[in-house]
């Protein structure tokens, strides 16, 4: 239907090709479809938020596609964890705050989102979808690494990332960012692939 080639931000942006070895990457400004909340990862609020986020993502994509506008692939799920600290002093899981995100091409407009939310509300898809919005994020210089295995073991990969940044005379000083490359419902926990990312700045002293 669309005359121009389909956009795939996941394939086109090299930062999504992370390896287990920590590396520095420059992340430019990016737009995400996003929803925030608080509670245990995988709990009710979290799952409902994921459902709402994907519901809006696919409704926007298909509405644009139907109208003959430029088509694009829906990217992987990502999340920011503002109170998941890099120094391992993390609060109780009940208190975890998260911002779930799906990277979205810049040509998707706020009007596309409000229209999709309206459509979903008409289908009785709950108030959750109303909390989905477009957010811009510009992380700048980051350290990132591919973590393979259960989410609980991320500490090990985070430790190697910290050691790496210290050797570069940098320190991690921004919100913990995760990109979920595997579907936890389909992939064995030992094979789960997650990119861990944190913005860095010059170490003092």
């Amino acid at each position: 239907m669309a005359t121009t080639e389909k956009v795939d931000l996941y394939k086109d942006n090299k930062e999504y090709a992370a390896t287990p070895k920590p590396a520095l990457v420059e992340i430019g400004p990016a737009v995400y479809l996003s929803i925030s909340g608080r509670g245990v990862p995988g709990g009710n609020a979290f799952s409902e938020a994921i459902g709402a986020l994907y519901g809006v993502a696919f409704t926007v994509k298909m509405t644009r596609k139907f109208a003959g506008k430029r088509d694009y692939a829906v990217c992987k799920l990502e999340a920011l964890w503002p109170n998941l600290n890099w120094d391992d002093t993390t609060p109780d899981r009940e208190q975890w705050v998260w911002q779930l995100m799906i990277r979205t091409p810049k040509f998707v407009a706020a009007k596309d989102i409000s229209q999709a939310i309206e459509t979903l509300m008409k289908r009785g898809k709950g108030a959750e979808v109303q909390r989905v919005e477009l957010r811009s994020l510009s992380e700048g210089l980051c350290v990132q690494a591919l973590h393979v295995g259960p989410y609980e073991d991320e500490g090990k990969t985070m430790a190697t990332m910290r050691a790496f940044t210290e050797r570069q005379e940098l320190r991690i000083a921004g919100t913990h960012h995760e990109i979920y490359l595997s579907d936890p419902r389909r992939v064995a926990v030992s094979r789960l692939k997650t990119i861990l990312r944190g913005p860095v700045m010059k170490a003092e002293g």
């Binding site: 239907m1 459902g51 709402a52 994907y54 519901g55 809006v56 696919f58 409704t59 994509k61 298909m62 509405t63 596609k65 139907f66 692939a73 999709a116 459509t119 979903l120 008409k122 289908r123 009785g124 898809k125 979808v129 579907d183 389909r186």
Partner: protein
């Protein structure tokens, strides 16, 4: 209470094989063959292929050819007459097929002293008494099957008529329309229902329904219809790999696992559920759950 045993499946399939042997000159209809052995016509072709190792069509054609071969050797009828008797319109078509099967033209075959025939998977040949080797799943086979009890499911669907390899286009169109209307919110299931057997129906006429689970209030509009997938007991197995290899798993599941299961298939089509997204997964990683409808256990036990 007695369940359906492997022996029952074999006994009933043997009835079909004997019937085919005795009616080689008639046009053998799938429904009729299925009925003879109390198999559901929806599943018969897969049960047959699974247990016998050839499709009905391949099996019948081979027996007709083998009969023609023995007529060439033992009789004096002309090659043309034998070709017609084997169901071929022309000498050429018969010669071509014969050559593929036996490695030699009919006229040379007639003169040859002895030609070794390739053995059929089932061991059944025209000129030999029927002793069958049914191919059921070896014990300890690694097919994982679960029995699930389903509630009826209301689905919206778009029908595809054409080769199964082209259903992707129908899915694109269907999901775009459904997505625009907000039906992709709430993580609906994506189902496929194959109504026809690619062994019997020409590719251009194969019917396939791309389905999405919806609420009870969904009404059909335009190209999009609504139907209810029957509830009840289903045997479920997962196919891992490209969609074009689904056929093989169907045959193993319905034709080789089922006869050993103690269960009987219900007269309704199988359906498949697409677990992951083909845009997002390598073909080797694609997961498809195959649902085969079962008769209720007590009913199956009486046979």
């Amino acid at each position: 209470m007695r369940t359906v045993t492997l022996h029952d499946y074999k006994r009933r399939m043997l009835r079909v094989l004997v019937h085919i042997q005795q009616h080689l000159d008639e046009s053998l209809q799938l429904e009729e063959l299925a009925g003879l052995a109390c198999f559901s016509p929806y599943h018969f072709h897969r049960v047959f292929k699974g247990m016998v190792g050839e499709s009905v069509k391949e099996y019948v054609r081979r027996l007709r050819l083998e009969r023609a071969a023995s007529q060439l050797k033992l009789g004096s009828a002309s090659v043309v007459d034998i070709a017609l008797g084997a169901g071929y319109d022309s000498h050429e078509a018969f010669t071509r097929t014969f050559k593929t099967a036996f490695g030699t033209a009919p006229s040379q075959y007639r003169l040859a002293r002895r030609v070794e025939l390739a053995r059929a998977p089932s061991g059944v040949h025209f000129h030999e008494p029927i002793t069958v080797r049914f191919r059921t799943l070896r014990r300890g086979g690694n097919m994982k099957v679960e029995i699930r009890q389903l509630k009826p499911m209301r689905v919206a669907f778009m029908r595809h008529v054409g080769p199964y390899a082209e259903v992707g286009k129908t899915w694109e169109q269907f999901l775009t329309v459904m997505g625009k209307e907000g039906y992709l919110g709430g993580n609906p299931m994506m189902l496929g229902i194959c109504h026809d057997d690619p062994e019997v129906t020409p590719p251009a006429k194969l019917r396939y329904d791309a389905c999405l689970t919806v609420g009870e209030d969904f009404g059909p509009s335009g190209d999009i219809g609504a139907q209810t997938v029957a509830g009840g007991a289903y045997a479920v197995t997962t196919h891992t790999g490209p969609y074009n290899q689904l056929g093989r798993t169907y045959v193993e599941f319905v034709g080789q696992w089922m006869p050993r299961s103690g269960r009987e298939l219900r007269n309704a089509p199988c359906f498949e559920v697409y677990v992951n997204d083909p845009h997002d997964s390598d073909p080797e990683e694609l997961l498809t759950d195959i649902y085969a409808p079962l008769q209720e256990e007590a009913k199956g036990a009486r046979e």
